[in-house]
């Protein structure tokens, strides 16, 4: 194995972060359950962060599994936007607004497909060839066509991230699943490490990167062994494994870069500016599956767990499966389950009902009983205990941010580093006064963005006004100059006429 360039194989334990109970073993007792095609799927057409989308199918149209049904419009700085594909074969039953999972009860345009029970495959992506022989541009275009987005939960276009060609020398694959309950990445590494490795190599070629590091946590020994075995079997010496401490949120992109590479992403910069790009291991596996089997992103592994579920499980679910149907696969939910959380207990979104579809961002569904969730308590004043600063992974002072937030002081918020906040929830977790810090900082970020937009608009308005004033003043000056010239001309012409008159008068007299 080649010597890794400039990173830690075993990063030191960070001082920040918390160690909540992990509750991961229950969902890994069984292997991944590959779900059969459900009777009905509801697929949102917009499944990429920052991009709008339009459907390319019609009502009543027959579609096959893997057929593109929506295309992204207005690409976000990348070659092309990711598409969305049908995850089952059947008829497009409806095309309209449907409730989708999110922090607010929002509705988006979704394509609802009623299954024909046959699961017929779309063959348009078969026989693509060896991606390691393709050009990087070609790889990126195909990845966008396959609809592959970041499967860590952010749904950012993978092709756009891979477009940072030439700047990046190290690809980091994030398998450090730090949030409690979530095990989809870990079980993927245990069972399909070879796919992850293949995906890593394809991504390295797309980026022009010289090495890749797969980050795993120290409490994932089986996954680490599986990855090592896959690397050894493949004989590849550019891919390494780095084991980080099992602390939340060591798996955050910026924190992982700090731990593994020992460098921090500068404020306002992207990781690619300092030579790294971070992708989820599930994304890598999806890329490998696409190039090998011609299978676009139509399913993902979802951890269905919590004490409100009878049999916690990792399910390879079709995109668009309703969450109620998914929990049936895990032997059903218990009657006393009171909360449904998409994501983990620290950053996850609490959903109002389970008639919502699984999207590309759904990495985990937790059904919690009342005893599993912290009861809401009255917010007390901040007692300045400083615990929030001790645990913050960005080394912020949440109590100062709280004060600035309450006073709506945008400058103070920026000064104390609001933009470096990753909304991990560690400060909330340790606050003895039960202050909703994360929610407040999220709101403050929106306020700051609004303020920036207003300022930018004011600056533009002022520039326009000043330009107009300058133009008008210029026109006024030009007019005045014109008038003066006319007067001078009049005087000049008059004096010549006078002289001529006097000359003529003298001539007449003389």
């Amino acid at each position: 194995m080649k010597t890794p360039v400039g990173f830690n194989l075993q990063p030191p334990r960070p001082l920040w972060g918390i160690r909540p109970p992990t509750r991961k073993s229950a969902s890994m007792l069984r292997p991944i359950l590959v779900a059969y095609a459900p009777e009905r799927v509801v697929i949102p057409i917009r499944q990429c962060l920052g991009m709008a989308a339009a459907p390319i199918v019609e009502l009543g149209q027959q579609v096959q599994t893997g057929q593109p049904i929506a295309a992204a419009i207005h690409a976000f700085g990348g070659p092309s936007g990711p598409q969305v594909h049908a995850s089952i074969s059947g008829t497009v039953e409806s095309l309209g607004a449907h409730a989708v999972p999110g922090p607010m009860a929002s509705e988006e345009i979704c394509v609802t497909i009623r299954s024909d029970g046959l699961d017929r495959r779309f063959t348009g992506y078969d026989g693509l060839g060896d991606p390691l022989q393709m050009s990087p541009e070609q790889i990126c275009t195909l990845i966008a066509e396959a609809g592959i987005v970041g499967l860590g939960g952010a749904m950012f276009s993978t092709a756009s991230k891979l477009a940072a060609r030439g700047k990046v020398h190290t690809l980091i694959l994030n398998g450090a699943e730090c949030e409690p309950y979530i095990t989809c990445d870990e079980i993927l590494l245990r069972e399909h490490a070879a796919e992850v490795l293949r995906g890593a190599k394809i991504m390295m070629r797309a980026l022009g990167a010289t090495q890749a590091v797969i980050g795993v946590e120290s409490d994932m020994p089986e996954a680490r062994v599986a990855v090592h075995d896959a690397i050894d079997a493949d004989g590849c010496d550019d891919v390494h494994v780095s084991v980080v401490t099992a602390k939340y949120p060591a798996g955050g992109e910026r924190q992982l870069i700090q731990l593994i590479m020992g460098r921090e992403v500068p404020e306002g910069a992207l990781p690619s500016d300092i030579g790294f790009v971070c992708h989820n291991v599930g994304t890598a596996a999806a890329i490998a599956d696409f190039f090998r089997d011609g299978r676009p992103l139509i399913s993902r592994i979802v951890t269905v767990t919590g004490s409100g579920i009878n049999e916690p499980l990792n399910i390879d679910a079709r995109i668009g499966t309703l969450m109620a149907d998914l929990s049936e696969l895990a032997d059903g939910r218990r009657d006393d389950a009171s909360h449904l959380i998409m994501g983990g207990p620290m950053m996850g979104v609490s959903l109002p009902n389970d008639e919502l579809p699984v999207t590309k961002a759904t990495n985990c569904l937790i059904l919690m009983q009342p005893r599993e969730i912290s009861p809401p308590r009255r917010e007390m004043p901040c007692i300045r205990c400083g615990e929030c600063n001790q645990v913050c992974p960005a080394q912020l002072l949440p109590q100062e941010l709280l004060r600035a937030s309450r006073q709506h002081d945008i400058d103070a918020l920026r000064e104390f580093g609001l933009d470096a906040c990753i909304e991990c929830g560690c400060c909330d977790y340790v606050c003895p006064s039960y202050i909703p810090l994360t929610a407040r900082f999220a709101a403050s970020k929106l306020e700051a963005a609004e303020h920036d937009a207003e300022m930018a608009q004011a600056v533009r308005a002022r520039a326009r006004f000043e330009a107009r004033e300058a133009r008008l003043a210029g026109a006024r000056e030009a007019r005045e100059l014109d008038l003066k010239a006319q007067v001078v001309e009049a005087h000049v012409s008059e004096s010549i006429a006078d002289v001529m008159a006097r000359v003529n008068a003298r001539d007449d007299q003389g």
Partner: protein, 364 residues
């Protein structure tokens, strides 16, 4: 099926403000028990009077301020203030002195500044400063520990109660017979009379390290402090910095002139030093908040205690040291801010706020 909703994060710590305050009270119990063993039930009477006065004052002020009463009174912070103040008062204290101090601490030093979380000064120390300036005689009336000294008659429990209620000892006891100087007081006055330490230490008031009785109370207070450290209610920076700086300064003094400067053992184990280190200087609201800031705060407190004890006119300078450092705490916080992720240490503010950037990936 419909589910209840919540805001992320859905998990929070079990430590709440009331539970932390309760832990502080439990940690004070060993120190109180040692105090009762050596000095009688005076401290228990003081605690009772102070706690009652504190709670009643807090209820009254919260009602006047129009704030919700039950959540703020049930967070036990007034009781903690009361007990710390009672610890600083002599065992024989008339009830009006205790009540005045508690009233000043809760109503003026805490609620006039905004209540829990907003007070600039440590309320217990502000209350103590108020009574020591207003009732200097009453606060000089200390007793000696019951140590079998033939010359000394420690006041009984009933006598203590009688004094607390009426301000006078029962018939047959004279104040002069009962009152004794504290070891710190003795050292200060005797040094002023040009006696050397070796002579002063022959007094039966002195034990092995500090004052007799007082050193044992300090030991039990240390036990309570270690319990708080173990539970994570307080952090090590303030106690270590304060005790360390006090030890270093007194060691230097001892080395320079051991006849007139008591050494670190005496300074650390006399008076309220240990109580200050673990319970008073660690008050989160009025102290510094960052780790570096807390070290500076602790060093400041230790230095000021040494200065006041050696050259000031008060025997024990804990309350004034704390109050002076409380004033400095905001400035200490301002200059000990940790470096934000992604900034170099010189950079104060992010300039490119409007730059379009990639949103951070969700945590795996």
């Amino acid at each position: 099926m419909f589910f209840a909703s919540g805001i992320a994060p859905h998990w929070r710590t079990q430590d709440t403000v009331p539970s932390m305050m309760r832990q502080v009270i439990y940690a004070l119990v060993p120190g109180i028990m040692a105090h009762v063993w050596f000095f009688g039930i005076g401290i228990l009477i003081n605690c009772l009077i102070a706690s009652t006065a504190a709670v009643l004052t807090e209820v009254a002020v919260l009602w006047l301020r129009g704030r919700p009463i039950r959540p703020f009174v049930s967070d036990y912070s007034a009781v903690v203030t009361a007990i710390l103040l009672a610890f600083c008062l002599p065992p024989l204290t008339p009830w009006w002195v205790t009540v005045t101090g508690t009233f000043f601490a809760i109503a003026i030093a805490k609620h006039l500044y905004g209540g829990l979380g907003y007070n600039v000064f440590n309320p217990a120390m502000a209350g103590y400063a108020a009574v020591i300036v207003s009732f200097p005689e009453a606060l000089n009336f200390w007793t000696a520990p019951s140590i079998g000294d033939l010359d000394y008659l420690a006041p009984s429990g009933l006598a203590t109660l009688h004094y607390a209620m009426t301000g006078a000892l029962p018939d047959g006891m004279s104040i002069d017979a009962v009152s004794r100087a504290t070891p710190l007081d003795l050292v200060k006055t005797e040094l002023g009379m040009m006696r050397t330490l070796s002579e002063i230490r022959t007094s039966p008031l002195f034990g092995d390290l500090g004052g007799r009785g007082w050193e044992w109370i300090s030991n039990f207070v240390i036990l309570g402090g270690f319990w708080l450290l173990f539970r994570g209610i307080i952090r090590w920076q303030v106690p270590v910095a304060m005790l360390g700086s006090l030890a270093v300064l007194s060691s230097i003094g001892y080395v320079v002139d051991s006849a007139t400067n008591p050494g670190p053992a005496f300074q650390l184990f006399s008076g309220g030093t240990m109580l200050c280190a673990f319970f008073i200087a660690t008050d989160p609201v009025s102290g510094a908040t960052t780790n570096a800031g807390r070290i500076i705060f602790g060093i400041g407190v230790g230095t000021l205690i040494y200065l006041i004890r050696t050259w000031g006119s008060y025997a024990d300078g804990i309350s004034f040291s704390i109050l002076l450092m409380n004033m400095a705490a905001p400035m200490i916080d301002r200059y000990t801010r940790p470096r934000v992720y992604g900034r170099t240490s010189g950079q104060a503010q992010h300039k490119d706020a409007a730059q379009q950037k990639e949103p951070p990936d969700a945590i795996e």
